[in-house]
Amino acid sequence: MPANSQFIDVRQGLKQALMQVQKPARYTGGEYNEVIKDPANIDVRFAFCFPDTYEIGMSFLGEKILYELLNRHENWWCERVFMPWTDMKQKMEELHIPLYALESKDPLTKFDVIGFTLEYELCYTNILAMLDMSGIPLRAADRGEEWPLIIAGGPCVCNAEPMADFFDVMQLGEGEQMLQDICAEVEKAKKQGLTKQQLLENLAGIPGVYIPSFYDVTYNTDGTIHAVAPNNPHAPARVTKAIVKDLDSFVPPEHFIVPMIGAVQDRACVEVLRGCVRGCRFCQAGQIYRPFRERSPKLISDSARALCQNTGYDELSLTSLSTSDHSQLEEVLDRLNAWAEADHVSLSLPSLRVDNFSQSLVEKTTKVRKSGLTFAAEAGTQRLRDVINKNVTWEQIERTCTIAFREGYTSVKLYFMMGLPTETMEDIKGIADTAQKVVDLYYSLDHAKGRGVQVTCSVACFVPKPETPFQFCAQDRRETLREKQKYLLSCVHSRKIKVNYHDSATSVLEGVFAKGDRRLGRVIETAYRKGAFFDTWEEYFDYDRWLKAFAECGIDPDFYNYRAMALDEVTPWDHLDVGVSKAFLIHEYQKALRAETTQPCNRQCNGCGANKLLGGPCFDYGKNLV
């Protein structure tokens, strides 16, 4: 371990720093259910780093899952690290306090493995800031034997390339087994005194593990990729995503750390299923988390109850990409309702779908508390909804809203996107028309006198993402999106309708990094050196700073997001296999251009290829599943 003489003792420094920053409880640890161990008995020390604030990181289910799994090993200790808010970061730098883990208050250099979550593209600079605050060299190539192993996981690893220079190891897919296998190899390597290179070669054999330095990228003269080829015999030509075949084989986390300060998602939650049957063509999660797997109603209910008892949470939410697609959702809700009310726990289902939302479902979720309704319509016209394969019709929206309004709901939130492939101004007007029809529907039904309806349209800018049928598309330019936003506002004529949208500068950058390659590592580092971090926070995001960084590195960002890719182009992520085949993505893209829809895959297999990860079909199509 390198000597970090530039830093002072953390606990000593905190005495001063904590009195001078906002919300100091973010930096203290000591929450209920935090795991404390004696470092003298530990073989593998793991720092789980979330590159955003405590409030956001503590809402993240992935960390809770892995924290409990790793800490079940008596001789491993997983601790938490978050990005300090700007006032604390400044204070720590001023006082020479290194970034530290909340549990032990030890600096990151004392750890064997430092793991980062790559949750979204715009937090890449925070990762560099966190390494820098620990005095750790940013680039893997500059880190010798004395430095901890720096690894990554999370959804953005499906195109790992922009961050490839900074990581020793990246994990493609689900971490439950993979991360434990990695830690077991690290423990073995420490005991056997292996070199980092030997350790990396051992790790390369674990399903889902990607060692960026074991691959060489060559480019064509037009800047596209010629090939990505392994340079080490231990590295597979293509890395295949790791999955948990049977969700019931891992008990969901039942001992969440209970934050003192309000986290963004400060409630108990249980993951009821993984993957999605829908195949919306814009949605990356819907593709990369395939195949679809369910947890059994009994395990969901038992774990949820234990979780509520162990944490004291009085709110429980069922999470997944599409909870109402659980084939036994009614049984899940019946089991939960059998104890929830008596235990003073209220239930919420965040991701309900318009098309299979039923009367009994509404009743079962509103027994204890009634909140607003949210629907993702995604596009304003049927034609465009068919293009993106969001198989929702106006009739379904109407039916669902009717049920909801009769149940007493008065506020509806509709999610839309703009900048979708093949979109015209007619589709933009359709967003306003849809919202107006919901308002009209409310007033056509019996409603309490004086109680108005509020329809909120949240309109996001579409960003083409890798491993989706729309990965081949160019992103809409900022000017175009601005025009569309302006036009949308001109189409809204009711005060009952509120339109929310964001400036698209962050979406531009998101589009560049989503489809970027290894050459962008230099840009990220340059932007960081120029002061970029917390890019997800509008008040710290500086688009011009990024443009300067691109210019300095001689890289044209437009090449990545404003250029349509040829169907046979080698993508920066072709060597990373998430299960869904490229042939399927091309097929779906071509169907999209013809506005042809694809059935949910629990009705019929569409041949995406992800079932190879299970080693057999995803569903028993002999049974009536829907």
Binding site: K15, Q16, L18, P24, G30, Y32, V258, I261
Partner: protein, 214 residues
């Protein structure tokens, strides 16, 4: 309905839990404990929970208290303490559980032990010899000037190792509330005594005539 008073320490890193957060922390601890606490009736039933005399962020205490209600006629307070003790997070140590003898509004004063670095001796002497010490107190209605000497005429400090230690009793409760940090801010602003090197520990809560609050 019985009103139950819970006494606990708030020490170490728990000193950084704000009052708003403390309510949430205690609410969840009570829920984990499984104790038969009373829930408010209403649209969103929640545990009835009331705190007395909020402590400033960063200060520690031996005597924090809160009140809950229960439908139990004569609760077994030792059993309550045993159930709640393991449900509290680090730094919040249960002291005892007992009946709420007095109403919270009876609190009139709090006792504090302040620890400052030995180098602050000259500053404290300067305070003691000053005829008037005006400090700024933030209130809900804005800032107002306050004569600190009215409440702390003299600081009777003693040397303990590398520190100076002294006790203060200051008004606390619904009517007048004087935060000992006002003195520390004055020492910092006028005599460069770093406030972060000073430490405040609340040691007692009192009703009228210096009778211990119970």
């Amino acid at each position: 309905m019985t009103t139950v008073r819970i006494w606990f320490e708030k020490r170490g890193m728990a000193a950084y839990i704000s009052l708003l957060d403390l309510q949430r922390v205690m609410h969840r601890a009570l829920k984990r404990s499984g104790l038969p606490v009373w829930y408010t009736r209403g649209f969103n039933p929640h545990i009835y929970l009331a705190f007395s005399c909020p402590l400033a962020l960063g200060q520690e205490s031996l005597c924090e208290s809160c009140e809950v209600k229960t439908e139990e006629e004569s609760p077994d307070y030792n059993a309550w303490a045993d159930a709640l003790r393991p449900a509290l997070p680090e730094g919040l140590r249960l002291v005892r559980v007992g009946p709420a003898v007095m109403k919270m509004g009876k609190i009139e004063a709090a006792g504090y032990r302040l620890t400052v670095p030995a180098s602050a001796a000259a500053a404290l002497d300067a305070y003691n010899s000053a005829g008037s010490v005006q400090v700024e107190k933030k209130t809900k209605s804005g800032k107002k000037q306050l004569e600190l000497k009215t409440w702390i005429p003299c600081v009777d400090y003693r040397v303990e190792g590398e520190n100076l230690v002294f006790e203060l009793t200051l008004p606390a409760g619904d009517q007048v509330n004087i935060n000992p940090a006002l003195l520390l801010t004055w020492l910092e602003q006028n005599h460069n005594v770093p406030a972060w090197q000073c430490h405040v520990l609340r040691t007692g809560l009192f009703a009228a005539d210096h009778q211990a609050f119970a």
